[in-house]
């Protein structure tokens, strides 16, 4: 009650901006959200939600090893992210175990390895911030790395935007007209690993998959055009990040969880009220009053 009495909308938004760490958190989380949101359209359409989950969990040991060796953690994460996918492909091909089972067992294996390594290495790695993210405590070197990776992923996705769309839609046609499908497959995986790395700073390893699939799923319910889907996905990801950070600031909640919850609520809203594909189809509701 006390909170409500002094809090106007204006101060709700501007007060946190007086803190340096909040400005940084808002900026970085928006950037991360934009990258993950962009990629999210492709993952949703390609049906790679489970793959996103697998890669984002598998980067854990890479992050730990990189920290211990003093390397950029994105490098370690990237190697383990792509490695997990290669391993999934290999086991699937060489055994009779079904794909979803292989994905499940590989990424949990990697994740467990990461947790064991953290306990063994006993460096100054903050397990909590890896698992649940720490957008409010992001360091300067992390900021630089995040900006670099984000620009890289956005540039790659922008250059190969149409090819990736074709790859998701009809890989066989892509192959038939001489487009390198193998390259696109690994490009998408590479972007996925990199996005998981930047995403884990915002919401942590456990929830990063939400950043990679929820915005795309929300956008998918709201449009029938691919370009619009990308824009909506990015916007909904950024808005959720801002909402999540503000809410966590004012109500002292876990930031990563708040961001993902905001995304989930936006998805639920689209699920219920999307003009064409929502349960209540807003268009039809209004049409009824004419």
């Amino acid at each position: 009650m006390e909170l409500c009495s002094f809090l106007t909308l204006d101060s709700f938004i501007t007060d946190p901006l007086t803190h340096d760490f909040m400005r940084k958190a808002l900026l970085m989380s928006s950037l991360v959200a934009a990258v993950c949101g962009f990629l999210s359209s492709y993952l949703t359409l390609k049906g790679w939600a489970l793959m996103g989950d697998a890669v984002s969990h598998s980067v854990m040991p890479g992050v730990v090893v990189a920290y211990a060796l003093g390397l950029p953690f994105s490098l370690g994460a990237f190697i383990f992210g792509v490695g997990s996918v290669a391993l999934i492909g290999f086991i699937k091909q060489k055994s009779r175990v079904k794909e979803d089972t292989v994905i499940g067992l590989v990424f949990t294996g990697f994740f467990a390895l990461g947790i064991v390594l953290v306990s063994k290495i006993k460096s100054n790695i903050d397990l909590h911030s890896i698992l649940f993210g720490s957008p409010l405590g992001i360091s300067l070197s992390d900021v630089k790395q995040t900006i670099f990776i984000s620009l890289l992923v956005v540039t790659l996705l922008s250059i190969f935007r149409k090819d990736l769309m074709l790859y998701c839609f009809d890989p066989r046609h892509a192959k038939t007209v001489g487009i390198n499908v193998f390259f696109l497959h690994y490009l998408l995986l590479t972007c996925l690993s990199l996005a998981a790395v930047v995403g884990l700073q915002s919401v942590g390893i456990i929830l990063v998959v939400a950043m990679l699939i929820t915005p795309g799923a929300t956008a998918y319910l709201l449009t029938d055009k691919f370009d619009n889907m990308t824009v909506i996905s990015v916007l909904s990801a950024i808005i959720s990040s801002l909402i999540g950070i503000y809410v966590s600031f004012w109500f002292d909640l876990e930031t990563g969880g708040s961001i993902v919850l905001a995304q989930t609520f936006i998805f639920l809203f689209a699920f219920l009220f999307a003009p064409r594909y929502g349960i209540f189809k807003l268009k039809k509701l209004f049409a009824g009053y004419k």
Partner: protein, 254 residues
Amino acid sequence: METINYQNFRIEAENICVDYNGKVALYDANLRLQAGQICGLVGMNGAGKTTFFNALTGFVNISKGKIRINGESVRSAQKDQTIAYVPQNEGIDSQFPISVWDVVMMGRYGSMNIFRCPRESDVQAVKDAIERVDLTDHLSTPIGNLSGGQRKRTFLARAIAQRASILLLDEPFSGVDIRTEKLISELFIQFKNEGKTILLSTHDMIHVREFCDLVLLINKTVVAYGETSEVFTPENITTTFGGISPDFLFGPES
């Protein structure tokens, strides 16, 4: 316009084998097609029809044998936009957020720059292709809002826009309305006159008799191949369909 050499083979497949992780999907398959020929690919589900298409488009690697497209490798055929593939309706995600125009434009991707920016000629090719399949009213319609027949025509338009000399069609007549069926039949005659080579898989024996100069009956390997009138015999069909007689499949008339 390039002169059509009717003597050389457009498609030459020699003793090709395809296996998926050691499981044989197709073995010792042969096929030779020239310009202006329409060939029907007939077999049961799982007989290797789609595998055959996959091998010809380079979507799967063959473990044995040789494929020549216009005398060259599959890879150069891909680069030269020689082959167009029209998928089954079931083979594509109809809920993908993409319009008719964008799908047909994908037929031009192979000849565009890396950003896939359409040039004037690409836009014109797409317009013409969409006109030929009678979908001009649906340029910006998402493919999810199309009927099965319209969707099939969209993918035919993509193949037309690609200006390929070889068309591979997976079940072109399945799940389409009568209007589309008529339009496809007319297009086939036009394609033939343009000197295109067509290989189509179908379950419908009437269509085979109607359009196909040649028939390739397969059941993991070639059961019979040749001119439709000679090859399309009850005995061959029975063998192809694993002992089921054509009377049972198509009624006593056949």
